[in-house]
């Protein structure tokens, strides 16, 4: 089978890779590029553990082909923290104990970043609907919602 050459941008860096035409972007990130922060929960679009941003839009990387990354900007969990440490969103997830096993957490954090980039002051209903495509087996969601609210406040305060 002939591999396809793809030129893309991941977390601000130009990246080239070869992949099979039917490999998902999730498989490419994890297995070809070693970016294992993005998780696979279901591979069918239901759990959101594989969430990444494509040109500012939140998507499931398990439902996208690697070849579709040609020419776009991909942001993964590895691109969220800054040079000087964790992003406020990550910090707030820690402070609020909004994670236990952590498998869902990268997806939740990328989804939270996408939400707050678009809507810096979401109400609780908006937060819950926005995150409805991210499943968590452990926390019961309430701590996650509190972490998102607190992160939104901190970001507003910083701005």
């Amino acid at each position: 089978m002939s591999k396809v050459h793809v030129l893309t941008s991941i977390n601000g860096d130009a990246v080239e890779f070869l992949c099979e035409p039917h490999q998902s972007l999730l498989e490419v990130l994890r297995d070809e590029l070693g970016l294992t922060g993005t998780k696979e929960g279901c591979a069918t679009g239901d759990c959101g553990a594989c969430s990444v941003m494509i040109d500012e839009r939140l998507v499931c990387s398990c439902l996208m082909l690697g070849v579709e990354a040609e020419g776009v900007e991909v942001t993964t969990i590895e691109g969220i923290a800054g040079a000087d440490g964790l992003h406020v969103i990550q910090q707030k997830y820690l402070e609020h104990a909004a994670l236990q096993c952590g498998i869902c957490t990268p997806g939740f954090i990328v989804a939270t970043k996408a939400l707050l980039d678009k809507n810096p002051d979401p109400d609780e209903t908006t937060i819950r609907y926005w995150l409805a495509g991210n499943l968590c087996r452990c926390t019961g969601y309430d701590k996650i919602v509190r972490a998102v609210q607190d992160a939104a406040q901190s970001l507003a305060y910083e701005a």
């Binding site: 069918t44 679009g45 969430s51 839009r57 439902l63 082909l65 989804a111 409805a132």
Partner: protein
Amino acid sequence: MGAYAYLAPTSVEEALSTLAAEAAAGNRAQMLAGGTDVMVQMRSIDKGPRTFVDVKHVAEANELHIGDDEVFIGAGIASAVLNENAELKGILPGLIEAADLIGSTQIQGRATIGGNLCNSSPAGDTIPALIACGAVCVIASPGGNREVPTEDFVTGVGTNVLEPTEFLIGFRIPRPKGRTSDAYLRFIPRTEMDIAVCGAGVALTLDESGVCTAAKVSIGAVAITALVVPGAAAALVGTAVDDQALAAAADASSALSKPITDKRGTVEYRRKVVGVLTKRAGAIARDRALAL
């Protein structure tokens, strides 16, 4: 044994010649829009090799026009993009709320109404909404474009009128005039992320005195394809879409439905609920039209 391949044509002409060349070579070609059905199916019920032909780079399939008489929505446009278009949402609120029901934020960023229709599931949420608002499918075909009303597009569970060398470019929808509006409702056991137990789309026009002069009703997930319910439309026309008319429309939907029993609901339950949804969607469409 064929192989997997991926092609991204940028025009209708190029896409048609791609499909023709794949067919001539004996390869299976599959159109790819948001991939939210294709990718799931590739991992479960449909694993074989194929050439993916991506519709998202076809210029014509990315067009969105809101004209005086007609709205055109390209088949390659993601639901989230449609939902963020305030003008479109104001003109066709029922269709856009149906598109908005599909999946999570992540799914919305990719899924298209074209993919929803072409996947041709009995439970596809946008199909009754497309039918209600009179959408016509514009199909690219080797002999030139052809047009098929949405209600004639789906032929069975997962099957439709497209030939292997054809694809959907987009939808022509008559621009609602005067006091015309639409609504779509579905019922699911959760509040997000589930497949419809049943759904109902209603589009209607009211005159100056609030009397209904035209209506179209379509119901989903209660037969192998979405159904048009002429009896429900007839029950609304000539009335003020009052409780009595809505109850008659509900009865017409229940009577026409041919649901099955599965884990999401029994035949009796679906029949009852599809009537309730018809009534409620009718009331929402009426109130929207009155507010225009």
